[in-house]
């Protein structure tokens, strides 16, 4: 063994990393664009591809016939805000999953696992039952606005409790965070069960619908709430990416490598809950996007977070827009709750991951 001076060629090749990695972001952007175009054209009111430019206002000529006017109304007031909000919710959920997995050094971690989603769901269910009751009657007209706020507050409160339990004198124990999360999920589910038990038929239907997740309530306002969260999230992703990479060595060795591990954990935990809280407040509970997306991407582009986090946001957006398009077309004019679709696809993939891990463990 000799101390050889590395060749230029080899050090330049390093930039590429995995061969497929450099294509990932442009490819995912292209697929997201194509998915969005398909999502624009299908739905209760079909808009063929040929009419799309005119409906979007790109046609140039001003022959605004009745058909174009209808298309424009459907696109700009219903479909575009919905697709935008859906893409952002999917991106946020996938990013939250990827960060959580990096934090726990476990590909099966998910915000739903530590009760952040359940906390949000409990608060939302409480809001439904409360605003429908005698005491909350005065607030009933606010129900649409109150629901997302309650879900967000519930997610945030859950995180604060979790963080309080798992932190002691400035150190955060990831194992206790996870175990406390399991307990909090159980408590939140008991609360939801109780609400379901006391709810009347109409409230029950509202709660169920919300627990299954849906993008049908998406508006420009909601898209406007999501956009800054996504931008801040992207910035934070760039900030924590290297730390999450080193964390794979374990907390002590990440520290030896120069990572401020406590700060990394604080930022990650706050980010995951804020992002999950916002997403849950807009779409209800949507599972498995956070597990499946990062896992699939790791197989193709590798586990380095600098690429994994933005790629997760894009693939999460693609999957959610695809699933939502299916949700609003397969039983049209009715709508399938999107949570059913993501769970139906996500759960088998989750099982696949488990089986594959079992195979690896047997080696």
């Amino acid at each position: 063994m000799s101390v050889a001076v590395g060749t230029k060629a080899r050090s330049l090749r390093r930039h590429a990393g995995r061969r497929s990695a450099s294509f990932a972001i442009p490819l995912l952007l292209a697929v997201l664009f194509a998915t969005a175009i398909v999502a624009l054209t299908v739905g209760a009111a079909g808009i063929p591809l040929s009419r799309l430019p005119a409906a979007l206002g790109f046609a140039g000529n001003t022959t605004a016939d009745a058909m174009t006017a209808r298309d424009q109304l459907v696109l700009w007031s219903i479909r575009i805000p919905r697709i935008a909000a859906t893409a952002m919710v999917g991106g946020l959920l996938a990013a939250a999953g990827a960060i959580m997995q990096g934090l726990f050094r476990n590909p099966l971690a998910d915000p739903a696992l530590v009760g952040v989603s359940s906390g949000g769901a409990l608060a939302a269910a409480s809001a439904i039952v409360f605003t429908d009751s005698r005491f909350g009657e005065a607030l009933r007209f606010l129900q649409t606005e109150l629901l997302p706020l309650a879900a967000f507050a519930g997610s945030l409160a859950t995180t604060a409790i979790l963080y309080g339990i798992s932190s002691r004198s400035g150190r955060t124990s990831i194992a206790i965070f996870l175990l406390a999360g399991v307990a909090i999920t159980a408590i939140a589910n008991a609360g939801i069960g109780l609400l379901v038990f006391i709810a009347d038929d109409r409230q029950l239907r509202d709660i169920t619908f919300w627990m299954l997740g849906s993008m049908s309530g998406a508006t420009w306002t909601k898209a406007a709430v999501l956009a800054p969260v996504l931008v801040i999230g992207l910035g934070a992703c760039a900030f924590i990416a290297r730390g999450l990479d080193l964390l794979v060595l374990g907390e002590a060795d990440a520290f030896h490598g120069g990572v401020d591990v406590e700060r990394l954990k604080r930022i990650s935990i706050v980010m995951v809950s804020a992002v999950t809280g916002v997403a849950v407040s807009i779409s209800g509970v949507i599972g498995f996007v956070g597990i499946v997306v990062p896992h699939l991407l790791r197989l193709v582009i590798g586990p380095a977070h600098r690429l994994l986090l933005p790629a997760s946001i894009l693939l999460g957006a693609i999957l959610m827009v695809g699933a939502d398009t299916l949700a609003r077309t397969i039983v049209a004019p009715a709508e399938m709750p999107i949570g059913i679709l993501t769970a139906a696809v996500g759960a088998p993939v989750f099982l696949g991951i488990l089986l594959r891990q079992r195979g690896l463990a047997a080696l």
């Binding site: 050889a4 060749t7 390093r14 794979v248 374990g250």
Partner: protein
Amino acid sequence: MSAVIEARGLVKRAGRATLLDGVGLTVAAGEMVAIIGPNGAGKSTLLRLLSGDLRPSEGEVRLKQRDIGSYTPRELAARRAMLSQHINVTFPFTVEEIVLMGAGERSPRDTGPLVDAALDEVGLSHFRERQLPTLSGGEQQRAHFARVLVQLACGEAEHGPGLLLLDEPTSSLDLRHQIDLVEAARRRASTGTAVIAILHDLNLAIRFADRLVVLSGGRLAADGPRAEVVTRERIRDIFEIDAVVHQADGVPYVLPQSMRAVPR
């Protein structure tokens, strides 16, 4: 030579147990020190205190004339590198990606030659694209050693001689790679790095270290040149085995005779 690290009166308690009790140690630039001692003697605790990972209950650690607690994690990483035992990487990072982690935020263009050199030095150049979890335990250990060497080299380029800490670095390596690793550490010492390694193989420790530090029951049992430290009596006292100590070219070597506790 100036002291790279100075520890004075280190006491570490965990609950009611005292893991370390009044240990002091100074290592100069260019010096290679081996820490030996039986299981539970406090060797790993001492190393974690010297790395800044743990804070002492009493006493102080000064790295390059500054209290070790006053450095940020990043400043610390540029002045000392540490190789732990048993690092379990769960995600499929490649060997090259792992080694590059040692370079921190520095541009890959600048650190590329360092990564290549470190991979050559641990004999893993042909595995650079392989995923780390698919390698054997010993190969993974060598990849982590390469990462630590890159971190050390990057830091020393900016701040001069640094500190290299090795916690049982040879535990999963075959004979050839044990010697390779210790020789690589030795080379760092010859260019000014202060090296502290926990070694269980007494002969390896004797062969490569300038100084041996013996811990026993959380206390410093001996600290000095190999010929003074390694005696039949001390080995019996510390390790509770009977051993013959021979000399070859003035270097002692130890041949254990009986693995059972020897009544005194």
